[in-house]
């Protein structure tokens, strides 16, 4: 009941938390996609010495515990750490950085798998039609578009519901670094279960609608 009232009344703090969650996750996903798709495409079609090792690192990255990522980012950004001069610790920037580290292997790994699933002859055939290397890579990515969309969905899924890393590097500071997941933890610890449920519903709702949008994109690419 209380959960429903909180949602309907659009509590200002709740709105701030939602917007920050979207900003942090959206920005992290943007950079993960920007780096991860070209990286996955490159790994998917190039053969070079050390490729297996890079892929092994990538697969390991796909299974990294977020709390460990948070710990490493924390140590890097702490005052005595190598990146301490940036003063990013306990800011949204630190949370974005941690989420990039978590989602990048997902996006790159699934993109690589999708590109490897495309007939290798396609690349040579579009090159034979006069495509540049970049145009050929793009053509292969378009062919692998369903898998590439899945990679973005996987990257999003890995960070929207993530709590360990953002808690460590963000600190769950009110009006500054508090996001949906860390707020749920706090409300639960304080015994405010209605608020925790309301936040949980919002989180699930966001995940549902984002995935629904992706599904629509996938459907469109199948039909077009």
């Amino acid at each position: 009941m209380e959960a429903g009232r909180l949602l309907v009344s659009l509590d200002p703090e709740l709105v701030r938390i939602i917007l920050l969650s979207l900003r942090v996750t959206g920005t992290a996903l943007f950079f993960s996609t920007l780096i991860g798709i070209p990286l996955g495409a490159w790994l998917g079609h190039r053969r070079f010495f050390g490729r297996r090792l890079i892929i092994a690192f990538l697969y390991t990255g796909m299974g990294l515990p977020p709390v460990v990522v948070g710990l490493v980012i924390y140590l890097l950004l702490s005052h005595s750490g190598p990146l301490g001069s940036l003063s990013w610790l306990f800011t949204p920037r630190a949370m974005i950085l941690a989420q990039i580290v978590i989602s990048l292997p997902q996006v790159a790994g699934f993109t690589m798998a999708a590109v490897m699933g495309v007939d290798p002859a396609l690349r040579q055939q579009v090159l034979a039609l006069g495509a540049t290397e970049r145009q050929a890579t793009f053509a292969v990515l378009v062919e692998a578009r369903l898998g590439v969309l899945v990679s973005i969905v996987a990257g999003f899924g890995a960070i929207i519901s993530e709590v360990g890393a953002v808690m460590l590097v963000g600190g769950n500071i009110k009006d500054s670094t508090r996001v949906l997941t860390t707020a749920i933890v706090l409300q639960t610890r304080q015994g405010n279960f209605d608020a925790a449920i309301a936040l949980g519903l919002v989180l699930i709702g966001i995940a549902f609608f984002v995935n629904l949008a992706m599904l629509k994109l996938q459907g469109g690419s199948i039909e077009s």
């Binding site: 002859a121 396609l122 040579q124 579009v126 039609l129 495509a131």
Partner: protein, 249 residues
């Protein structure tokens, strides 16, 4: 077919080799392809025909040797072939892989990456030429083998290249599609003066279409001559055996 109608060279290859994983698959001492001719390259499976075609299409660099293209460009490493030169050559593969889009989008692909303005007109004209104008909006995956090969041919010829490389373009096709593709190839050469290199293991097809022909055996060019000589009075016993249809070792 009579002798090549136009003088000048499209390609001159010299001491061309290709090695994959320490295995030499090609070793052509000398090959000349004249501008405006149909050159038929015959030979059994695994003789290096497709490899040679990929080198001529600048899709792979030779391991050693050089290719003189259009009497100007020397190619040792295909990575340095300028894109505008590479775009003067297109290739149709034995097993065409089409983009998972419509027939129109497949044929328009090469024009779009070149930022052509008259894409629709040119695509429609070519689709009519290959008799696929009724399938413009069809999905590529729904096509038959013959239709797929005609789409592959259409997306290459719509670009109006100087040189068209054809790798077994009618293998496993029915007589209707074979006849249609052969008529189109002949028309491209006669009407537009397009240089065509036709790789085929079908001696009869090479005899029907080529002005000149060459036999590739174990990666080596055994003989290259005008069609009349090559098919009727070959100078090499292996060419004579291959043309007769005898087993060649």
């Amino acid at each position: 077919m009579s002798d090549s109608p136009i003088t000048g060279f499209a390609y001159q290859a010299d001491h061309l080799t290709k090695v994959y994983n320490s295995r030499a698959v090609l070793g052509v001492d000398s090959l000349e392809i004249r501008r405006g001719e149909i050159f038929g390259l015959v030979g059994p499976s695994g003789s290096g025909k497709s490899t040679l075609l990929r080198l001529l299409g600048f899709l792979e660099p030779p391991t050693s040797g050089e290719i003189l293209f259009g009497e100007r460009l020397r190619v040792i490493d295909s990575d340095v072939v300028p894109i505008d030169v590479r775009r003067r050559v297109t290739m149709v593969f034995q097993h065409p892989v089409l983009l998972s889009r419509t027939v129109f989008a497949n044929v328009a692909y090469g024009l779009r990456i070149r930022n052509h303005s008259d894409v629709t007109q040119r695509v429609e004209a070519v689709l009519k030429e290959v008799r696929l104008d009724h399938l413009t909006g069809a999905r590529a995956r729904t096509l038959s083998g013959g239709e797929r090969q005609r789409v592959a041919l259409a997306r290459a010829i719509v670009l109006e290249p100087d040189v068209l490389l054809l790798d077994e373009p009618t293998a496993n096709l029915d007589p209707f599609n074979v006849g249609l593709i052969e008529r189109i190839v002949t028309g491209l050469n006669q009407d537009r003066g397009m240089t065509i290199v036709l790789v085929t293991h079908n001696v009869f097809q090479a005899r029907r279409l080529a002005h000149r022909a060459g036999l590739l055996l174990d990666g080596r060019l055994i003989e290259a001559a005008n069609a009349a000589t090559f098919f009727s009075e070959p100078s090499d016993a292996r060419t004579a055996a291959f043309v007769r249809g005898d087993m060649v070792c």
